[in-house]
Symmetry: C2
Subunit: 162 residues, 2 copies
DNA sequence: GACCAATGTTGGTTGCGCCAACTATAAGCA
DNA sequence: TGCTTATAGTTGGCGCAACCAACATTGGTC
């Protein structure tokens, strides 16, 4: 975006979906800029955070936990391991799997990212009071949960025909 | 996304920026699916809405009002005019400009999109009461305005050296 | 007339979210 | 035991939104 300045149509301003998208884009810009100062991206943070919280895991498990596609996990692990932040080794118990482990460098890098991101959150919600921030997060969570609950409204699936 | 199912790391769940992004992605999916049933995309709607509200305008003006990059305006206008929803004609008063005008078909298409989008808004906020929706939109607006007000925090610009 | 600003246009790039296809291994079941 | 199905990693690709740089044309200004 970075354009505008010349008030947008009412119709657009009024749409909650657009409002949300607008705020999300600003948030992402802030996040990306902050992470970029350390040469990292959002996927990197997600994987490191998942590894630190749940310990070593297979790439598939990482993907499931972070919502990142398997193929993108591959690329991200490649990059992280090239930087020495994680290690990839074959799982002796299941030869299909790789076990991904955070290194000490990975942990301390994660700590750095955490600091940066928490500053970003503050900047993001700067115009709200503490109480309002809680309200805001609460509402967002309810909306998110509500959407997760209602399936994508696919056309009803009949019994698959043989 | 469409993955997960296996609870995400707390650190991620806790980040407002991520929450917002998550909701925005869901919203965008809903919007895109709805618009796609008519062969349109978000940029199409934005331009049509701007045209209907402000009347005929140059492509640059459209870009400024909708926050869409000039180059993307070109592509979108190409598509809309190919579908007969807008018309592009050179501005006699300023030969650099094109004047973009909505056609009758464009207006009625916009009406259709409006209907679809208002349904989407309902689906999006389904888990909130009416009062909460207002609160939510209010908070979102404050956050958006706050971000717009605080300049991107660029490193202070000294007087440019000659 | 020389300069700078704005306009339309072309042709990129990036990140993110996806999907399909393939190989290898593992697990379930007849 | 074999056959089948499921899972894991990997490659290569797609589409979209959001950008950016460069260029030619035209307008305004000094």
């Amino acid at each position: 975006m970075e354009n505008a300045e010349e008030t947008a149509p009412r119709r657009l301003r009024a749409l909650p979906s657009r409002l949300i998208n607008h705020v999300a884009m600003s948030a992402n810009r802030l996040v990306d800029r902050a992470l970029a100062t350390t040469g990292s991206r959002r996927y990197d943070y997600a994987l490191l955070a998942a590894l630190e919280e749940f310990g070593p895991a297979s790439q598939a498990a990482l993907g499931r936990r972070t919502g990142i596609d398997r193929s993108d996990v591959v690329a991200t692990v490649n990059e992280l391991s090239a930087r020495g932040l994680v290690e990839r080794s074959p799982d002796p118990a299941d030869r299909r799997r790789n076990v991904i482990t955070v290194t000490a460098a990975g942990i301390s890098h994660l700590a750095l990212l955490d600091r940066l991101l928490s500053e970003v959150q503050d900047a993001l919600l700067a115009s709200l009071t503490t109480a309002e921030r809680e309200q805001f997060v609460g509402l967002l969570t309810r909306v998110a949960d509500g959407l997760a609950a209602s399936p994508p409204a696919r056309p009803p699936v009949h019994t698959p025909r043989p």
